[in-house]
Symmetry: C2
DNA sequence: CTAACCTTGACACATCTATGGTAAGGTTGG
DNA sequence: CCAACCTTACCATAGATGTGTCAAGGTTAG
């Protein structure tokens, strides 16, 4: 099976040609180009498009989420910051939070 | 220092009272409530609000990003799916992709 | 009791996202 | 050479997000 142009790839994967260009613009699926500049979707890109569609259907995630998830894995500082921020929120009732709060507890009670 | 009401916490952290309620609505900073239902921001919440402000300033992330990052760490299936989808995209020029593409390469060339 | 808080809920609005369409022009295959 | 693709670059728009403000009513401190 040869590479597909944007229209054929759209028909094949259930996206619109417009969205294929949109996804490329955001770096999510970037097919190589023919010499004339035509997008050439091969097996890797087609699989990527299909699984992206599944991700959306199953988990309800949108392209912006993927873009952010990519930032998380490309920027270790961001990842660490976000991760520790979230971790601090999961410890409701933890020892640290209890220690931090007990003063106010006394004052409020 | 006793707990702060929403207005005082806003003044203290640089957010607006409106945004504090908004952040609570999305589960990002959820202070305990007084008996009358007043939000009571203690040290943990104030720190959380300040660091959230820093996260935004330094990395340009918005609340929606945090909400999604929280989904990533709470839903292992989602995390695995997103992670492997992204991993598949980072291997431009990898062996797997080269293997997958060489057929089309031949046909297109 | 009153002023100054707080509560929820609603309306408003700018901005961004996701998507479609359309126009002007290049490429390709019969 | 012509039909049917493709390209980029716009304009439009429905829905979501982020934020302010206001109204009707409860709470609290002096």
């Amino acid at each position: 099976m040869p590479d597909l142009n944007v229209g054929a790839a759209a028909a094949e994967t259930g996206w619109s040609a417009r969205m294929l260009r949109y996804l490329e613009q955001h770096g999510l699926v970037t097919p190589p180009r023919s010499q004339a500049g035509y997008r050439a979707y091969g097996l890797p890109e087609l699989n990527r498009l299909r699984s992206l569609r599944d991700l959306r259907r199953v988990f309800g995630i949108d392209p912006a989420d993927l873009v952010f998830a990519r930032r998380l894995r490309r920027e270790p500082e961001l990842r660490r910051a976000v991760d520790s921020w979230l971790a601090a929120g999961e410890d409701a009732g933890s020892w640290v939070e209890w220690e931090q709060r007990k003063h106010e507890r006394l004052l409020v009670a």
